[in-house]
Amino acid sequence: MSKEPESKEKRIGVYICRCGSNIADYVDVEKVCTEIKNEKNVRLSRVMMFACADSSQKDIIADIRNEPLDAIVVASCSPKLHLHTFRAVAERGGLNPFNYVQVNIREQSSWAHSDHPDQATEKALDLIKAGIARVSLSEPLNPITIPAENSVLILGAGVAGMRSAIELADLGSQVYLVDREFFVGGRVAQWGKMATTDQTGEELVKSLYQQIRNRRNIKVYTGAHVISSKGSIGNFDVQIKVIPRYVEPPCDPEGFSKAMEACPVTVDDEFNFGLTKRKAIFHNFRSEFPAFPVIDMAVCTRCGICARYCQGINLDQKEEIVQIHAGTIFLATGFNPYEPRKGEFGYGQLPNVISLQQLKRLLELTTGEFRFRDKKIGSVAFIYCVGSRQMDGDNKYCSRYCCTSAIHAALQLRQEFHVSNIYHLNKGIRTYGKQEILYEQSSRAGDIYLQFIEDEPPVVEANGEKARLTINDILSDKHEISLLADLVVLVTGMVPRENNDLNRILKVPIGKDKFYNEIHPKLRPVETVIDGLVISGCCQGPRNIHESVGSALAEVAKVYNVINKGEIQLEPTLAVVDPAVCEWCGKCAEACPFDAIEKVQAEKGWVAQVIEGNCKGCGMCTPVCPTNAIDIKGYSNREIRSMIVAMSA
């Protein structure tokens, strides 16, 4: 058997919580208390009705002072509930808060083993012994205090980013709002009328942008992207590259219009998902922001014709590198619409198969009769969950907004353009919450809903100028139903934006669905493991505007509370290297996903050193060290070994 290190002599107080009857009904707390008194280093052991109660906290503080105690163990509920409560008790008693260990004998003993109270009692004893062993070896640790800049860099000027910027500016923070596109608004700017208010995306973006312009402490950079980032929470130093617009004031709107008209270069307009063409000098819609166009230098031939109509054209503008110092970074980089594969339900092969996003643009661009490819549209078939809820493939998730958006578009087709034959081929409609009203309206208006299962998707074939759709409808006992439609709309969901460079530079954690990953979906829904890097909106996963703005405001509340004090305290559970033992092999640096280990020269030669600002305390570096030279404070090798031995008896 291994020889374990001797614990230092400490005077430890152990408090066993009854939690009313939650623990005491199943764990014999008196027996535990009596047995624990005999453990090495334990100076006192007490049972408490509610350890978290004010009176109990005062009793613990009195014990710490009067005995005096060097360390305490509280055996109660999960540390997720009261770790900070008891750390504060330890601190008020004069102890270092990290000389306190909480042992979970409620969730992980009394409740889980209420069927065997004797075993729950024995297990509670084992767990408390492990807690005593750990605290016997615990070192006093001090939270790291660092200065924090009350400024925020927001990446993504969509609705989530703009809404966050306004709120933070009103709270007094300096805000840098950066978007890689040349116009703000993100995907919402592309939407026409939106569920459930019929407000257009353009109107919403305009309203937010006006509010941003009225705030002096928001600086907006468009056509800009991050090229490097250093530092950590409180003090990020980020470089952004601003691509020139090659257009600057003064030039009146008429001059802009003439310049765009005269430009000889024509390309597909990505804003309208390829439904229309645009020029090399362009803007997406008349009132777009910033309110002057941009020259797409990837296609511009520098012929200079546009300059004849507008004196604001400057083809000599240079890229600019801007340094931003920010306390935190908000990621609100949004999503991309799913692009169907060629041939997926006839997309890219049949001329009358389009995506939901294309339909939304078509509705926005259409006045009068609803036509597509010069043909009047009298019947439309929607196929749902294209690129979402796939049993095979990456996109297993529901994209949340698309059922509502498709039905809203169908109502618009019926009410504004008098399209009367509308079919919805779906896998189950998910118009949750208040959006269900639209589903009811559509059903009452006469839309036909047919349902298929994953294994038997509808078949789309050409039939003259129309498309023939065949479905085994599970709502009618899998009867094969065939229908003709002038236009087929694939209800395409969301996929993550391609942000490979940004993800690499900021080391953003990515989830299995390839969207950004929060620490915990319920308990810490806008934070990432990178302190100071928070996420909101659709970069985190599919959601509608209402949900995106909700997460953006949660992000504001979370972050402002941290940066507005001028300094930040960080958990001290970081990696630490013993240079006397380290024989630099580089394995720890290789294992670290956060570049938190560097090679430095010591007297004996090269050794590893932890960059505390980068270290997240994950511990990935520790098992790979061949000499056990690297450890995690608070989870040290000695502490964990002592716990294993203490519970083994």
Binding site: S78, S110, H116, Q119, A130, P509, P593, M620, Y635
Partner: protein
């Protein structure tokens, strides 16, 4: 002498699998009390020596309740934790310890029922192995 003849050492993770184990208790789902948990920041921080120490000191089995692809520190956790298991298997073989006494499964933050099932099955396996050995 321990009350538990087949004690299982569980390494859970602070942000992912330990919340699931807490949730099992909250839901009053029962699993063998022989399962004793030590919480770490990440499953890829488990040292093979700790697992070997557990066998040396009498644990019947060790279970790594891994973060899997939910790991907040990144997806490399999966391969790193797998490598730890691989390295430990070699150490176990060298000591004549059967490798099925070390098990691992990804346990997400709400996978309470999965954890309960894993513990129940693992406990039964360990019990059966002891009976057969006798």
């Amino acid at each position: 002498m321990s009350t538990f003849p087949h004690k299982i050492l569980v390494f859970s993770t602070e942000k992912i699998s330990d919340p699931a184990i807490d949730l099992a208790g909250l839901m009053k789902l029962h699993y063998p009390a022989a399962a004793h948990v030590i919480v770490l920041p990440c499953s890829s921080a488990v040292r093979p020596e700790w697992i070997m120490l557990a066998f040396e000191t009498g644990y019947a089995g060790v279970f790594i309740a891994a973060d899997g692809s939910d790991c907040p520190y990144g997806e490399s956790c999966i391969t790193k934790t797998a490598k730890i298991v691989e390295r430990t298997h070699l150490l176990m073989k060298a000591k004549g310890i059967t490798t099925n006494r070390l098990q691992m499964a990804a346990v997400c933050s709400v996978c309470a029922e999965l954890f309960v099932r894993q513990m129940t099955l693992f406990s039964e396996e360990l019990s059966l192995a002891t009976t057969n050995a006798d």
